[in-house]
């Protein structure tokens, strides 16, 4: 009995270690800067948000269906100024998005806000019904009205909201 218990406990601890290790190596997305609640999100955390999809032409010239959540909703969750608050000095806030490889792009905050635009910028996690592949996912920005896809940044790791200081 004792032996069984010991073996079981060992197994549980090992499982815990494996899960911890796995959790550490999973890619996460950090939202920080001018926010009231900094967030670190895993892919599974996005289930709490409404799923949205866009059918758009990618760099390969072919149409793909991207699924994910509205970038705006994530920023709202982090307490970024939005809607009626987007006035005065808040109009010079920017959103700097960084990828795993160091690539960076920038949006002005009003470009993402539904009071300013009908375009829904997506934080996509799926393409044509499949999870985004290595090198593209797990998170990618899709901005349908951008003709050039340079700001459709892949492998998003961090989103920083800041004030233009000039």
């Amino acid at each position: 009995m004792f032996l069984k218990k010991t073996l079981f406990a060992t197994l549980v601890i090992q499982l815990f270690c494996v899960v911890t290790l796995w959790a550490q190596t999973e890619s996460t997305l950090a939202i920080s800067g001018e926010v009231s609640v900094p967030l670190t999100l895993k892919k599974s955390d996005l289930a709490a948000f409404e799923t949205i999809s866009h059918k758009v032409k990618d760099r390969d010239g072919k149409e793909h269906e991207f699924k994910g959540v509205a970038l705006f909703e994530l920023l709202k969750k982090a307490g970024v100024s939005n809607g009626a608050q987007l006035r005065g000095e808040n109009l010079v806030k920017y959103v700097l998005i960084q990828a795993a490889d160091g690539y960076e792009v920038l949006y002005a905050l009003p470009e993402i806000d539904p009071d300013f635009t009908d375009q829904i910028i997506l934080l996509a996690t799926e393409k044509d019904g499949k999870a985004l592949e290595n090198g593209e996912g797990p998170f990618r920005i899709i901005t349908p009205n951008d003709k050039k896809q340079a700001r459709w940044i892949r492998e998003v790791r961090s989103i920083k909201v800041g004030f233009a200081k000039e």
């Binding site: 550490q24 190596t25 999973e26 795993a100 490889d101 160091g102 290595n134 090198g135 492998e155």
Partner: protein, 378 residues
């Protein structure tokens, strides 16, 4: 006041003009003395010089502004062998100016006669770098310096010992006071001074810079190489290219990126993953600057390629697949449905001749970057 005037009149010529001139001269002298006393310990800002197309996207920490005095001290420290455990090595040992501040070895030899893990990086245009080392683990030049100074396989000496050794010298307390206003040497001030000097290592006078400024006409081969370097291949439109500029482009030929460039399919050195803990970063390393690349052989994080020819052969024909291989190296080919870039021999030679355009002889001969201790011994 009356008494003072009477006393002064006694001492000085009695006419009104003489009194006025004397008072004026006294005032000027005392004011000059006052200014001299106030200004004595204020270091002068260092004027950075670089072409406008390099841009101003860099941050100098507010608590370590670059000054002429700080840069001079940093240069003295960069070449200071007292900063190593055996008093024989300095930063300059593995970062030689004539090799654009690299050392010509695959990996470097430390004070304990063992080898470092990775290839000594060229120190060029660091002002624009935001994450240092092959894995980007260090967020500033100030924090970066601690690693090579204290690593037992590099200079192998704690900063506290370095502070003690420098404090005992005649020269250094005075130089620290000039640079930072206080004669007390500290680990942080050693780091600050080194960072200040390193920020000044700007290379911006290569033939490529001169070409961009309109004062150098490239040879036909250089021009062919430049076009191949910058353009992606497009066999459908019969356009040949090597797409190097995708990661190495821009006037600085540097972008702050980390990629797995396919030199291995399994990774004995996990590179950036060691720092981020993210398995998607396995085998990713810094995309280094190509400035002075012809001087900084051997190449890659472990110095495995001796020549630029081997590097070009790799990208052209030997990129290896793996889970984290850069997407920019996948399926990029000069042949329809080709799996490799497949450059011709002549194309590789042309690209290498363009890479030689990035050599900056002004930079490697700039006396402001040379060993000041050698100079003073002469």
């Amino acid at each position: 006041m009356q008494q003072l005037r009477a006393w002064i009149r006694k001492q000085l010529p009695t006419d009104g003009l003489g009194f006025f001139v004397s008072v004026l001269m006294l005032s000027i002298c005392s004011f000059a003395l006052f200014i001299a006393a106030v200004n004595r310990n204020v270091p002068e800002p260092y004027p950075f010089k670089f072409p406008a197309n390099f841009g101003n996207r860099f941050i100098i920490p507010a608590d370590n502004p670059t000054t002429k005095e700080g840069v001079h001290l940093g240069r003295m420290l960069f070449y200071e062998t007292k900063l190593s455990a055996n008093n024989k090595m300095s930063c300059g040992t593995c970062h030689e100016q004539k090799l654009a501040f690299s050392d010509g070895r695959p990996v470097s030899l430390g004070v304990d006669n063992s080898f470092t893990k990775r290839n000594s990086m060229a120190l060029v245009n660091l002002l624009w770098v935001r994450n240092f080392f092959w894995d980007g683990r260090s967020p500033s030049l100030e924090t970066q310096a601690v690693f090579p100074l204290t690593d037992p396989h590099e200079m192998g000496q704690s900063l506290e010992v370095s502070v003690l050794k420098l404090s005992k010298t005649k020269n250094y307390p005075r130089l620290f006071e000039k640079a930072f206003g206080i004669p007390k040497i500290s680990p942080q001030l050693i780091q600050n001074a080194l960072a200040q000097f390193e920020r000044t290592l700007i290379s911006a006078d290569s033939n490529y810079d001169r070409y961009l400024a309109g004062t150098y006409t490239p040879t036909e081969r250089e021009l062919r190489g430049m076009n191949l370097f910058m353009n992606p291949p497009s066999p459908e439109r019969s356009l040949r290219g090597a797409n190097c500029g995708h990661c190495h482009g821009g006037p600085k030929t540097f972008k702050e990126l980390f990629h797995n460039n396919g030199i291995d399919s399994t990774f004995s050195d996990p590179g950036r993953k060691n720092f981020t803990g993210d398995s998607a970063d396995n085998g990713r390393f810094r995309v280094p600057t190509l400035r002075n690349i012809a001087l900084t052989a051997p190449y890659m994080h472990d110095g495995r390629f001796r020549t630029l020819e081997q590097v070009l052969d790799h990208y052209s024909d030997h990129v290896q697949e793996s889970e984290t291989l850069s997407t920019f190296l996948k399926g990029v080919s000069n042949e329809k449905n080709g799996s490799h870039l497949s450059l011709t021999g002549e194309e590789k030679v042309s690209i290498i001749s363009f890479l030689h355009m990035l050599t900056d002889t002004t930079f490697i001969n700039n006396p402001e970057f040379s060993n000041p201790h050698l100079f003073s011994k002469k």
